[in-house]
Amino acid sequence: MTEFLRLTIYGIPVAAIYFVAASGLVVTYQTSGIFNFAHGAIGMIAAFVYWELRVQHHWPAPLALFVVIVVLAPLFGAVIERVLIRRLRGATLATTLVVTIALLALLIGVAQKIWKPESRFLPGFFAGNTFDVLDVSVSWHQAITVIVAGVVALGLWLFLRFTRTGIAMRAVVDDRDLAALNGVRPGRVASLSWMIGCMLAAVSGILLASVIPLDIIPLTLLVINAYAAAMVGRLRSLPLTLVGALILGLLSQYVPTYVPKLFAHNTLPNWLGGLNEALPVLMLFVVLLLLPEAKARAGRINVGARLQVPSLRASLIGAALLIIGAGFASQLLSAILLPKFATAIALAVIILSLVPLIGWAGQVSLCPYAFAGLGAYAMSRWGGGGSPVGLIAAIVLAGVVGALVALPALRLRGLYLGLITLAFGVLAEKMIFRQEYFFPQGSITVRHLDIGFDRLDLGVTRFNSAELYFMVLAIAYALVAVLLLAMRRGPFGRRLAAMRDSPAACATLGLNLTSTKLEVFALSAAIGGVGGALLGGQQVSVAADFFTMAAGLTIVLLLVVGGVATVTGALFAAVLFAYLQILGNDHSWITWIVVVAPALGAIALAKNPDGAVVDIANRFRAIAARLRERGGGIDARVVDPLTRLDDLPLGAPLDSDQARALDRVLDIEEVDCLAAAEH
């Protein structure tokens, strides 16, 4: 009983931290409709800055706290709201998720550049002082944590219920446009909510960092654990979030103590090895499973550009050029550079796996590396000496697991799919890949895919085994890209585009959204498996901690940089990434580009959801059109209805393009008003 009491009392401060973190998430999600995946990273950065001031520069705690929590964190919140979030109105869900993930990766990258790994220690508040509660010794830090959570809960409640600004915030949630009509400034309200969200992230980060070692990834992930608590409140209700945080806090104490007792020798069996660490994501899984099914909603306008899908002929020519180019590259690149670019192509296949899912169907997966890891495992286990059976096993295993993972979330809206895949990424990292069964002694050996010969003499030039594998990778990439494009041009591809544009309309045409999403998710996972098997072959020895969730986010970001919906973008981004890394070896400032590029990509994405490749292509087209125009050719001006309205000449008759643009923008509300006025 004393043990139970002790665990319960210790669980409460843990719950308190989770509550503070989760309430920050809820506040920002509530007012801006954007789930901030970078919440944990913001908390982490705040903790590091606090450590810098408090420990390195010996600032007094109150001053350091004031600077971090009251000055820097809100400032940062205001800046990201202004620079990133505000541009995201009307963007697809996939875009909004990916942008905050880019921010997450940016912050992790920046932290890793500034704070090299070393053991750091942040003292708790009034460290060493304890007092007794029911014979259980409690530290002042724990008590303060609980008090802080209480103040946050009460403060938020009072703020949202009784202050003018708080009520305005709730009004913006209910109906942004209506609130604006009533004199609320949605921009200011959103800005404020991000400031509060970042403050709360900072508070939770600092509280947490005094309890665990100050380390970048663990700290970031621990705040991610608060997702489970926020989800209990369905990202809306703060009281339910508190309940969720309590459950999570208590479980985090009970499970490590009581669960082992269920087994022989009071120890967890191997297959449950990562249970304690994975507990919050398991809880997230369960909570998502219990959420009621979401209905397709009408009235949400997705701004989606039309993508020129290359014809079969064009895609075959592209593939052939790529393979020929790869042939030359394999002969020209040095033995040191070749493997780096080979890795890049394998990564490009994994990036490609996200194109149909994120780019075409508008669904999100944040665990491409989990499926890649399964693919590498399948190749190692069933591909023995590089047999194609291994590749098939990779496709099947990753595809089936993908379907099983996604099934519970597909009933729900897109955000939950993002969350459940994130949870699965962590779960795979902590509970699957650490198993002896999957990665004996922490690593596996993956062979090159066997193509029947391991050297090739063409007379003019010879290919050794590394060069041949480079070619295998290039051909695999080209093949997957050509197949995907063929699919995109067919009925299934059209259906995905339709689903992205309007899920509600698809449902009213008889399309089962859940099974369609399941198909594309399984397809994506299967391609990820292939990529993993190929990447594994390039690495030969693959460590269990290679396919982590955090590392997998790089894949998502490269996708963003290249363009979520193009197959060429994947290769472009991966090769650019490899190139920058290589350059970074000689010029360390370039590694900063690698760190910052994702964020720039994200900012570009917020502005132009179709990514770099499409952007470049559009620019070329615009230049070509301008040249034609100068030469007296046809007028190739394109009126973009949403951005060029300001350019319309007032007082002059409109041409047909301009009239259309006007019609699009004025659209339905105006018609409604006119109709209402008539009556």
């Binding site: 039309r306 009925p491 509600a504 045409l509 008889g510 699009r664 109709a675």
Partner: protein, 245 residues
Amino acid sequence: MPLLSIEDVTVTFGGLHALEQVNMQVEAGRVGGLIGPNGAGKTTLFNVITGLQDTKRGRVTLDGRNISKLPTHERARRGLARTFQRLEVFGSLTVRENLLTAAEIRKSWARDGSNTHAVAEEVLERVGLREVADEQVDNLPTGTARLVELGRALATRPKVLLLDEPSSGLNEREAQMFGELLLALAAEGLAILLVEHDVKLVMTICSHIHVLDFGQVIASGSPDHVQRDPQVQAAYLGTVEATSA
């Protein structure tokens, strides 16, 4: 027997009764009208029928079968199709692709081996979209985009068609042609329920009109009957005191 019947449907949003004990029937071969001021609950009713909105009470039957518990796509497969007041086109696809996709979706559940390209071409012709067939729908004017939604619904070969303000954005001549198209479709046996602000259009082509106000059916009957109804006049024009005040 009516093809579609709505019985006792009640929907609440918080304390607001968006629909209260609504009863309505739509018969095969007829165009029924559903009119009412903004916010009366017309679109909500469409959402209820198609399963995009849960009800507090009531049931929807299609062809004698209770479909109240079915998900949206299952209802569509039993012959229900609709358009949306706020456009829900597949904006990144062309007009032809919109229709083709609808036909393909139908083929995937009907498994009737129909020629989807032929269906798309036929519908293009029927709703008069041939000239803009290869235009991306996002670039079309609203009125034309509404026709795309109609065509897309027709490509699933429905029994019941729910149209939510389909003629807004059309000019008078287009609206007249549109009315003729609806009558022709009804003559082929389709049951149509039309939400429309264009009173002239409604009065010309509908055989039966339901008037919804504040979530309740305040009148129901032939166009003449409904037009003379004092409650309807009050709902639309306000009472004499209210307007003079």
